[in-house]
Amino acid sequence: MITLDIKKIWYYFTRYIDNFLLAGIFLLMLTGLIVLYSATGGNLTRVISQLINMIVAFVVMWTVANIPLQRIMRLAFPIYVMGIILLVAVALFGEVQNGARRWLNLGFINIQPSELLKIAAPLMMSWYFDKAHITLRWRDYVVAVLILLLPVLLIARQPDLGTALLILISGFYVIFLAGLSWRIIVGLAVAVAVSLPLLWTFGMHDYQRKRVMTMLDPSQDALGAGYHTIQSSIAIGSGGISGKGWLKGTQSQLDFLPEPSTDFIFSVFSEEFGLIGNSLLLSLYLIVIGRCLVITARAPTRFTRLVAGSITLTFFTYVFVNMGMVSGILPVVGIPLPLISYGGTSMVTILLGFGILMSIHTHPKLVKT
């Protein structure tokens, strides 16, 4: 009887969870904890606090996974509106930290509304596309772009160019997957290429320009902004094929790396586990992304397809940009490595996304006819 009950509870508990995806996520999280222990110089409190972040994020994921799609879809619009209101509130009453107005103090908690928009914006766009014409017209794309640009511009003004760009990209994935014509995509690409010099001159803060310059040649400012990239490259390169071993990375243990537990945690991993470790980690990410792509491909409705695709590709973008940045092929933009970097907010956002994916995959498919 008791075993039957446990089985039943287990069933209800894991009903809407995709075990394959969950296994991948757990493996990445475990890796994260192991590296974090080394990156913090053996600070168990930080590891435990990250573990709590993970548990919280897991609860969020589980909860979302258990929400039927229809309800998620209904939530898209209110979440988006709330996000926009919060962004406006930040612009008006936000707290300034490091020269940027990003945080909103609600008295009991400090929140960063831009984080919410990472999910809310593609959700809203997908919702809109789903409600739009059966065959999408160019007007629909224009509306979707407006839905996207509103939060992007608000966030870019804070200024938080990195997040704005990421939301822009996640929105672009939605539009791309919705079937935007190739002609317009090529046209857009040309337009971006043309506007880059203008952006450089008028749209960028000095520190942002400096980052770009340093990215092109880190050695130009080896002790200033390029220092991070160079030290990070040294960490990765000196790891060699098999790495220096856990807790034995000199670059990370001796404080040469900036932010070794957040943005630059991958260089710690790389230094200690070498090319073999990197290959395994890349494979792990690839497996997770692959599973997500399968879920996306099988998604029943336009809304779910677009949402799933955007979440999957955004997740990939995070991984790529972070690894590219620490290994010196992309500028340092301050994006954490998903599931591995220390930090509660990004962990929750990421797992929220996976929760949606699981919900899409496991709830009864209601084919719209």
């Binding site: 059966i134 065959t135 994935y173 791309f176 997957l177 079937g179 002790l223 030290q231 490259s233 040294i234 960490a235 990765i236 390169g237 000196s238 790891g239 060699g240 094929i241 000199t250 670059q251 001796l254 404080d255 040469f256 790389s270 070498g274 090319l275 990197n278 290959s279 890349l282 990410y285 690839l286 992304i289 692959g290 792509l293 996306t296 491909a297 336009r302 397809r305 695709g309 590709l313 990939f316 790529f320 690894m323 590219g324 290994s327 010196g328 092929i329």
Partner: protein, 625 residues
């Protein structure tokens, strides 16, 4: 119909979506491949390179600066020592806005405008030094206050440095010299001498005096420590260590008591005194008055003090004993006398009736004796005792300039003798060749006449005069004058104590030497020019007075009448040895604008000798009005 269109659209939409998704999947794989190839490049192709960089990052070699050797006088009195001083240093590269950072620093620790100027100067000059001092000699309270606020000042740190201190200050400044902060020029020199490695971590080097000439012995051997450091260079642990070897300690032949006695004997007068032991060349006292406080220079002298010293009319920075050139005046005569005897131009018995002047044959120009009307019958002894000029005008004429130049040159005039502190000058012992070269003029017979009494083109330093007198006192033996008597290493093991060197010996007839020495003894006896100074002496001493004419009146010395008058006055000279029969000390006294040698210089010498033989410390002399 409508329904099938919708269905067809639906399948078309899914197909389109899946194609787009597949494109994305391919891009994902391509970009992951790009990442992998980047990792491969960094970790395999460039792995060794980055491993080297990582090693260099964490292992640094830190120099361990040795303690500088100490300097003592002959009785073990300390003349140069080290103490620990706390210096506030800044690494300019690590401070973002240097000016405002220093402004903020000034709220915690006092930073004077002078400190800033000095720091900025260092910053410009010493590109190869990373950590530069902004404030030295912090008090304990300042150290504590900074330590409390250190988190506010990245790139700034307090360092404990051994600092040089000269407890006797001005008294021996011209001998000991001082050390100064190493600049780029020094570094170039070290590099050329292949000493640079030993100076990694050193901040100071000898500038003048013993500190400079014995730099290599005093500096010591720099040690090295291999340490593992973190990103900001904080040592985490030591991997290996080669201890530094402290510099050698020097004991000088200088007697600080005698030095003190000499300075006191001078009273308010400016001048120089050199005293040495004729039996070995050890220098016992070496005074150039006024001196300066060498401690001001150790950390870089500030502008105001530098102006004060450099522009002072008394020229305290000028080492008069070694570098001050004066006409030797009548102190030249004993050597002229020896030249006359040795070269057969005069005999001991020769005497003449002094008319009080000398004229060249066929010339009406009169070279006058200092005593109008002359000294009556004068022989060689009397010529020295009363310092007869006419005798030496005639002798110079008879010897000729070439003979004078060659014979007297043997006593060290007109050349560098050699001494173990830097900066010696040659003075001038004129010759026809010299005049031709210098003025493009022929030597005139009249030029020779004034050379005979130590005037004319003649220029010598108090040091040279002392050396010449040593040769006379020593019957021609020339010992190399030197300050350093003994060198021991940091364990007090003897390194060297044989600094006595007989340079050469003049072959002079003993009879002549004894005669001249006897005459010089009579100088300090009743009837001699230094009889007042010699009165009631407990020992015999031989000497020669001299007066050297001040020729140039410099522009810019027009302060007030009495001052000008004083500075127009002749320099007083006295050179002596004692006891006359067995000399233990040779000394020369030069009193700038002191008037006559017998009245000013000789009494000073007497006081110094009284201290040397009797231990009597003189009261400061009264200045003649």
């Amino acid at each position: 119909m409508n329904n099938t269109v919708e269905l067809r659209d639906h399948t078309r939409e899914i197909r389109l979506f899946r194609i787009r998704l597949a494109i994305c999947a391919v891009i994902v794989i391509i970009l992951f491949g790009l990442l992998f190839s980047r990792f491969f490049y960094l970790q395999v192709s460039q792995g060794e390179h980055y491993t080297t960089l990582a090693e260099a990052n964490r292992i640094t070699i830190q120099p361990l600066t040795p303690n500088r050797g100490l300097i003592f006088d002959r009785n073990g009195e300390i003349l140069a020592q080290n103490y620990t001083a706390y210096t506030l240093e800044i690494v300019p590269d690590q401070v973002k806005n240097l000016e405002s950072a220093i402004d903020e620093l000034a709220t915690v620790v006092e930073i004077t405008p002078e400190d800033r100027r000095r720091f900025n100067k260092l910053k410009r000059e010493s590109t190869r030094f990373k950590s530069l001092p902004i404030r030295s000699r912090l008090t304990d309270i300042e150290v504590a206050r900074f330590a409390e606020n250190q988190y506010r000042f990245p790139g700034m740190d307090i360092k404990a440095h051994p600092l040089r201190h000269y407890p006797r200050g001005e008294l021996v400044s011209h001998v000991i010299g001082y050390i100064g902060r190493i600049n780029d020029k020094d570094l170039e020199q070290f590099e050329a001498d292949k000493r640079l490695k030993n100076y990694r971590g050193s901040t100071h080097t000898g500038r003048i005096g013993i500190e400079k000439s014995y730099e290599n012995a005093l500096h010591g051997q720099t040690g090295f420590e291999q340490v593992e450091t973190d990103a900001v260079g904080r040592p985490v642990r030591t991997l290996s260590r080669v201890a530094p070897v402290a510099g050698n300690d020097l004991t000088l032949s200088l007697d600080i008591g005698l030095q003190q006695a000499a300075v006191q004997a001078f009273g308010d007068y400016r001048g120089a005194l050199v005293a040495l032991d004729p039996s070995n060349g050890e220098i016992l006292a070496f005074v150039s008055k006024p001196g300066f406080d060498p401690n001001l220079f150790v950390d870089g002298i500030d502008h105001a003090n530098w102006r004060l010293l450099n522009e002072s009319i008394d020229r305290p920075l000028n080492n008069r004993a070694l570098r001050g050139v004066y006409p030797p005046g009548s102190t030249f005569k004993p050597f002229m006398a020896l030249a006359g005897l040795e070269l057969g131009k005069r005999s001991i018995r020769y005497a003449f009736n002094d008319p009080g002047f000398f004229s060249l044959p066929g010339s009406s120009h009169r070279f006058r004796d200092w005593k109008p009307g002359g000294h009556g019958w004068v022989d060689l002894r009397k010529s020295l005792v009363i310092s007869c000029d006419t005798y030496y005008y005639m002798l110079a004429h008879d010897l000729g300039i070439t003979n004078i130049h060659n014979f007297i040159g043997q006593f060290g005039f007109g050349r560098e003798i050699g001494i173990d502190i830097p900066g010696e000058v040659r003075g001038l012992l004129p010759s026809p060749e010299w005049k031709k070269k210098r003025f493009k003029q022929n030597w005139l017979p009249g030029d020779t006449i004034s050379v005979g009494i130590g005037q004319g083109f003649n220029l010598s330093t108090p040091f040279q005069l002392t050396f010449a007198m040593m040769l006379l006192a020593n019957d021609g033996r020339a010992y190399k004058p030197h300050f350093v008597k003994q060198q021991v290493d940091h364990n007090k093991h003897l390194v060297e104590d044989n600094f006595v060197e007989e340079m050469y010996r003049l072959n002079l007839k003993q009879e002549y030497l004894d005669y001249v020495k006897q005459a010089l003894t009579d100088v300090t006896r009743p009837g001699g020019t230094a009889s007042r100074a010699g009165a009631n002496a407990a020992y015999t001493f031989a000497g020669k007075t001299g007066t050297s004419q001040v020729i140039n009146i410099k522009q810019g010395e027009r302060y007030n009448a009495s001052r000008i008058n004083e500075r127009h006055r002749d320099h007083a000279l006295f050179t002596a040895f004692a006891p006359a029969e067995d000399p233990k000390i040779v000394l020369t006294v030069l009193v700038e604008n002191g008037g006559s040698g017998g009245s000013t210089a000789a009494p000073i010498a007497r006081k110094v000798l009284d201290y040397f033989f009797l231990g009597k410390m003189p009261e400061p002399a009264e200045k003649a009005g």
